[in-house]
Subunit: 197 residues, 2 copies
């Protein structure tokens, strides 16, 4: 079954193009041309464009989930794991500079389109949120774990957007370092609390 192969290729190409150009601005013809397949062939694998979008979101959910799990397995401390998350800003610097945060930009676009897959796309945010929340819990911040997770998501989201707008390399590196410092303070704060007990 070369079925799987073509279907996956469509999803992967759509994933890239949706990120680079946005969902609405990407047409079937473009994806088809990029893959060297015919437009009509699409409709064997996906009945509608929305179906491709959902497949792309699932693809991203799977990959993100795998990444987060990989970080957990590596036997590092929760602090290290959160640092890995913050480092996404630096690791994906080039792409963020060009196309912003893939999670945030898709979420915003689907919001404007009043698209039915909006909530599905927001699960990407939730995935990070829950994972981060768990890490903060393991750091000892049981009460404010979710709050800290949301705050960290906010921070990186804002940095990604402004970096994409101003394209200032110094800015993103400085902000990434700043967030790491913030995290250090959080971690110290925990230790102090633990010493009290």
């Amino acid at each position: 079954m070369s079925n799987k192969r073509t279907r996956d290729r469509i999803v992967e190409e759509a994933d890239q193009l949706f990120y680079q150009q946005g969902f609405e601005h990407t047409s079937f013809a473009q994806i088809a041309e990029a893959l060297g397949i015919s437009r009509g062939n699409f409709y064997y694998h996906f009945k509608t464009k929305d179906e491709i979008l959902d497949a792309v979101i699932n693809y991203r959910l799977t990959r993100t989930h795998a990444m987060l799990e990989h970080w957990e397995i590596e036997g590092a401390t929760p602090l290290d794991r959160i640092r890995s998350f913050i480092n996404i800003l630096v690791m994906n610097q080039a792409k963020i500079k060009q196309h912003g945060c893939p999670v945030g930009t898709l979420s915003m676009e689907l919001t404007k389109l009043n698209h039915s897959s909006r909530e599905h796309a927001n699960k990407l945010f939730t995935l990070f949120r829950i994972w981060l929340s768990r890490q903060f819990e393991q750091l000892g911040h049981h009460k404010h774990a979710d709050e800290l997770a949301m705050h960290l998501l906010s921070l990186s989201q804002g940095v990604a957007t402004l970096y994409s707008a101003f394209q200032d390399d110094e800015f993103i590196n400085h902000e990434a370092a700043r967030i790491q410092d913030w995290l250090s303070a959080i971690a110290t704060q925990t230790q102090t609390q633990q010493e009290k007990l």
Copy 2:
């Protein structure tokens, strides 16, 4: 000349619709219908859709500029003025919940569209940036004024995006308060520095 009237009405309606639905997803027909004028009539006032976009951006620049100037005139301290900026999150809460930050979402959309007015739209960010930078300077942070301005822009941008995604009222109020606290710390820090001198 009722010319002015119609032209302005187009810009104002386009401003709203671009914010609510995005630039690309808003059609001439929609704007025309909302205003009760004919499609063809558009092309007397604007030769292309991009021209409307530029007019909308200028409109926003003017209004934002006026708002910032108004804050300066009111005879408050720079600290109060920055607090006014942070309070945008609370004041425009309902709109941000539905459509995100008007500056950030337009900037991101035009980036994805590879649109020629991208830099024009980013001037909205620059307007806030320069204004905030000036306020921080007046607060005594001469060296890091721009850095603080960018940081504050990041913070509010991130909060707006996540609020729009999760629609959590508690979150935005908490984060707004948190940013105000951050600002208080910045202001205190200045005072300490000044006491040293």
